[in-house]
């Protein structure tokens, strides 16, 4: 489904070039749930942005269902079936939750249909459907709405960049269910999640460990996960909340 061939991404800084992603080869098959983990600063979010087309690789090619999409823009990739959930959701003035879900679905949908996506992320649809996506919403609410917009896209490949960030424990449990349901809904649809949460890693079919911009390890969950437990690449939900100062 998605194939990265020798992909590198460099940025210019202080007169020199810094490698953020280097020579990554990666293949994500149909119907797979793949979690990308690794230490902070390892290039995880950059990898997600390269796939969504928000940034373009310095070297290498990206293929989607056999087609070279390296030069395709964000819109074109979205239309081909790649969805992307931002780590930090964007706020808008005047655009309502309903508007965003409608745009995401790509068709005229009624309020009841839009509400089903909100319910899936644990929001009482009636309270949110007409809210503006502005600073009156909390970080956690925005994050769940962000995930709802990606669900509404019914995309072939959904990429979630740290979906658990800013979400409370109760929602977190539901979030894991959401991924499981997408996964079970079709054998064609794949999910790529950037996360170092143990609970999310446990749901993966395959795990990628990204370290210093390169692939440190890639394989089946049962082969990779045991080696990650207890490291920063697989933290438990409680330790995450503790590190955020919330318990």
């Amino acid at each position: 489904m998605l194939e990265l061939k020798n992909v590198s991404y460099n940025v210019d800084e202080d007169g020199g070039e810094i490698e953020i992603i280097r020579n990554v080869d990666l293949e994500i098959g149909s119907g797979k749930l793949v979690v990308v983990t690794g230490p902070n600063g390892g290039g995880k979010s950059t990898l997600a942005k390269l796939i969504a087309g928000i940034i373009k690789p310095t070297e290498g090619r990206i293929y989607f269902n056999g087609e070279d999409i390296t030069d395709a823009g964000i819109t074109e990739r979205a239309q081909k079936g790649i969805a992307f959930a931002f780590q930090q959701p964007v706020r808008f003035k005047g655009i309502r939750v309903y508007d965003l879900i409608r745009i995401a679905s790509g068709k005229r949908i009624n309020t009841a249909e839009a509400c089903t996506y909100l319910s899936k992320v644990g929001l009482c649809a009636r309270d949110y459907i007409n809210r503006e996506i502005n600073s009156s919403l909390s970080g956690g609410e925005l994050k769940r709405i962000e995930i709802a917009t990606v669900l509404a896209r019914n995309a072939v490949l959904s990429v979630f960049d740290e979906p658990e960030a800013g979400i409370d424990l109760w929602s977190f449990t539901n979030l894991v269910d959401v991924f499981r349901k997408i996964r079970e809904s079709s054998e064609e649809r794949s999910i790529l999640i950037i996360s170092h949460q143990e609970r999310i890693l446990e749901t993966a079919d395959e795990i990628v460990v990204l370290r210093d911009g390169g692939i440190g390890a890639f394989g089946r969950r049962e082969d990779i996960l045991p080696g990650l437990i207890g490291t920063s690449s697989a933290v438990s939900a409680c330790s995450r909340l503790a590190s955020e100062g919330r318990i």
């Binding site: 239309q79 969805a83 745009i103 790509g106």
Partner: protein
Amino acid sequence: MVKLDEIQKRLMAEVADLHKVPEGAYNLRVNGESAGRQSSENIEIVSKTDVSGLEIHIKPGTKNESVHIPVVLTQSGMKETVYNDFFIGEDSDVLIVAGCGIDNCGEQDSEHDGIHRFFVGKNARIKYVEKHYGSGTGRGKRILNPGTEVYQEEGSTVEMEMVQIKGVDDTVRTTTAELKEGAKLTVRERLMTHGSQNAVSTYVISLNGNGSSADVVSRSVARDDSYQKFDARIIGNAPSHGHTECDSIIMDRGRILAVPGLEANDLDAELVHEAAIGKIAGDQLIKLMTLGLSEQEAEEQIINGFLR
């Protein structure tokens, strides 16, 4: 009632959402003449005798009624100044829809200057909607200079919605208000300018009564080579609350000047001004593009939402 042509009908629909003769009291003004008028049992519309314009008398206690007084100009080169006075009786609750549409296909400038005065009785409540719209391909400018004066008695509430989205070349809008005890004024202004248009909006609001309050929020978009000036002044002469907000998006070579003006003449006057001007945020465009919209479609959605 005078028969309207297609352009005039379209302008009526744009400025007053009128697709047929409205219910309740109305006066339709077309090219300087009345094209239809109706008073109701509680709302009387009469022509002024000294100058061009109307007097609208709303009886005390009138509830859930509306007045429509749209104006359209389709003759190139027409210039008019109209004085409309609204006398709103105590304890009434009414909707007033004004607005002006100009279609200028000619070479000469067309101009409508509407001076509206509102005398709002004790505990009365009005919602005032004013839309401006211009169309036509002529080189003659479409000019609208509305002047609005509001005098609010004790406990009255005025809610104003001012909208100018398209086609008006030149606007100087002046709004003044004087509020007595417990009176409340809210203004929502939405403005978009394009081409080489020029728009100036000035507010001077005097909070004279104990517990009076005003909230003026302007959202605007300046595209192409257009220019806007938003000048909002609130004067707190009594224990009162005042808030103004100017939130603007600039595009292309558009320019905006926001002038905050707060004057507190009473220790218990609480006045706040907020202003923000900037281009469309890049991450907003990217987010909508990841949902499948083109950059241009994303821009339209952001602007439409912003001016909603």
